[in-house]
Symmetry: C2
Subunit: 295 residues, 2 copies
Amino acid sequence: MNFANTMSRRQALKLAGGVAALTTISSVGMKAFAQEAAAGVKITHVRNATLLIDYAGTRFLFDPMLADQGTFPPFPGTPNPVDNPTVPLPLDIDTLTNVDAVIVTHMHEDHWDQVARDALSKSLPIFVQDEADAAMVRASGFEDVRVLTLDTQFNGITLARTGGLHGSQEVVQILGDDFGRVCGVAFKHADHKTVYVAGDTVWNDQVAEAIEVHAPDVIVLNSGQAYLFGVGSILMGAEDVLTVHQAAPNATIVGVHMEAVNHCVLTRAYLQAFADQNDFLPSLLVPADGETMTF
Amino acid sequence: MNFANTMSRRQALKLAGGVAALTTISSVGMKAFAQEAAAGVKITHVRNATLLIDYAGTRFLFDPMLADQGTFPPFPGTPNPVDNPTVPLPLDIDTLTNVDAVIVTHMHEDHWDQVARDALSKSLPIFVQDEADAAMVRASGFEDVRVLTLDTQFNGITLARTGGLHGSQEVVQILGDDFGRVCGVAFKHADHKTVYVAGDTVWNDQVAEAIEVHAPDVIVLNSGQAYLFGVGSILMGAEDVLTVHQAAPNATIVGVHMEAVNHCVLTRAYLQAFADQNDFLPSLLVPADGETMTF
């Protein structure tokens, strides 16, 4: 197959736009990375939904799944039955746990795992969605567990809890209300871009409301379309990402929670192809594991 | 995440149905496999579009790409820029080239590569779509090159050339007529199931016609949705597979040409999830590399 002459300069630029602002953290660059963290907004996509978010001088660890590759079994009743996580952790645990606070959107194992619970200092502030999750985190020995509100203040930053649902109404009716219970977070500061991390939700009124209320510049979407046979999708897929783009056409969308746990069927390549086909590739970043984006 | 109690017995059976009839060829089983080949219809999915087809006592090698993993560069202007093939060859080349005939649907490198051209005996019958391809194959030194017709006879088997197009009309307008030129083949014999291997085509009138004319029991679809940025899909995607199922609801569909070359964005897991969501998973087989299906 010879595609060599099929890509125009316009197409090449379009493609380049889709991967701009992505820089890989090498081990050599790690120190500089740490020193620069104080400045603005940097998001390092660690793996799956796990992020390091440097926001207005504070470093957050978001939804940590820190287990080694292949150390827990595939989720039952899902496609692609291989052990989880399906890929290695790209940064060392000491780097990942050297943070000012942790945010956990819900208690599922791919967002708050045993390795994270063991590795994190028990005195770190842990932000959670509600008292039910707070009780579970406290039961693991954490001493400073805080329930997110619509206007939580921390180090001069506003952390606003946003709503969500871990599947459509129909899916959550099958899986149960407790399964569906999730949150997202909007990071806000007068001097910095607003970052909305939507969490494990499909597109719905709560996501639309979060976009309307917070007018985010950056929207992180868990867009791996995790799937259960006989039930359906429990995460956003490509169509949902398009809908979010249409609701926030000027925002940069960051697609994550892909190619790291077995049941996420949407790949980076598919999402990028879909975004190209639907003319929003320039608004989309799809970071590799371990890559940092600056906003 | 706890999915343990979410899958009903019905769902589990449905899932099991989707993988029934798949058996992996171990090296131990290779001899028995060769001995049984004479009997009925066996299709071994080698990798990508490459198949070993045992049909009415004759063994065909179909669309051979036999290169080692990572030995040629990614197709330019496509997602997922990693070297091709992206996965290893699951069977040894001696086994793959010990056949009665070879069928090559078109001249693209992922269907007829240098390793295959070097490894195959120059006296083997090679079936191709037209005189243009025949000239190229003869130029590689092959002495018995035959152009498929609507009613080619070989060892008592009818090999019927079917039409196709390597992308939509719009896509082929961009890439050129020569790019779009492909065929498929229907294997027919009074005592055996009809097998239609559609080749590198999207869903179109030619595929519909092939289904109507040949009424296949088994349809092999290259459903990896290979994608070019700024151009579009050049293979079937999940929606096309559904359309084929609707056109041939009693046929077993075999989805291949996935997860082996860089630009195929549709994964096995996505296709299975989509088939489940659209209630045709029991009609779909998605073999692993090296797996054999018996019909």
